[in-house]
């Protein structure tokens, strides 16, 4: 390999490596990972064992700070809950469904101030309730996060009302 090829290779690889490094450590990627963990903790497979339910609930704990406000009125999820309350109530809410599939897509992030983020995201929830049928809902959520010592934590979930009757 001659010197020119080495320079060309470095000119291509170095910016690529820097870009990859910046991407891997970016707040955007870390926040997306938090959403992935949240979805993972809520998703449920048929015949889930009680111990798995407990572990799933425990996995929610590091995702929330002191408290979190929910304003998803259409699904009766409103109010401010402490982290302990979220961990305590989540298994009961998941119990209503035999299977749950939750996905977050179409992320759009803003950082209004240092250590805070507002994320607009599409949430799709598919829950099977056995005889009662399936619930398949897509909503746009505005989610607020705060950077704490434990990393980015969720502080507010608000459903965006698109149609007003």
């Amino acid at each position: 390999m001659n010197r020119k090829s080495v320079f060309v290779l470095i000119a291509i690889v170095l910016p690529g490596a820097i870009a990859l490094g910046l991407y891997l450590t970016s707040d955007g990627r870390i926040i997306k990972k938090r959403f992935a963990l949240l979805a993972e903790a809520i998703c449920k497979e048929a015949g889930e064992k009680p111990i798995t339910t407990g572990i799933q609930a425990k996995n929610l704990e590091p995702l929330f700070g002191g408290s979190c406000t929910f304003s998803v009125e259409e699904h009766g999820l409103t109010g401010t809950f402490t982290r302990d309350e979220i961990v305590r109530y989540a298994p009961a809410a998941r119990l209503r469904f035999t299977t749950i599939d939750l996905t977050f897509t179409d992320f759009s992030m803003e950082y209004p101030s240092d250590g805070s983020a507002v994320v607009s995201v599409t949430a799709r929830f598919i829950g099977s309730r056995g005889q009662a049928g399936e619930m398949d809902e897509i909503i746009e959520l505005e989610v607020h996060l705060r950077e704490s010592e434990e990393g980015w934590v969720f502080t507010d979930f608000t459903a965006v009302d698109v149609l007003e009757k």
Partner: protein, 174 residues
Amino acid sequence: MTSPAEEPASPHSRLRAFLFPRLTHAYLLRVAAVAVASYLLFGHLCIPLKIDGQSMEPAYRDGSWTFCWRPAYAFRDPEHHDVVAVRLSGRRIVLLKRVVATEGETVSFVDGILFVNGRPVEEPYVRTPCDWNLAPRIVQTGNVYVVGDNRGMAMEAHDFGQVTRERVVGAPLW
């Protein structure tokens, strides 16, 4: 002497050349141009839509396909009876609904009949019996009022109402 380029191509060699063309600069350029054009056309201008739901039946059947023509309202506003694509979430999730009223107008339903500004509206696209009742409400500035064609559904289960003009992202091609 005949060069290989001048030899008449057999159907077999033509098929091979079509399926496995030589990676010349011109060929790669054509592929890149087609890829960019497809991305712009189907990613931004004319987005494929799969209908998931029954709220616009019978005009749009559950499970059927159409395209959302994004520039439809680039230079004009939605009008009464237009079917529009309303952005529900993100860039890809849209609702197909019909515009029944525009800003400043009053909308209500009385025993399933749509009233706009106090006058009943004939809706030939509605084929199912309807018993909806909705108190009069004014469409706010910058909004349009949209409803699905399938009024056979319970009013509570049907997504309709006023939506900001910015959420109207186009119209179905057919």
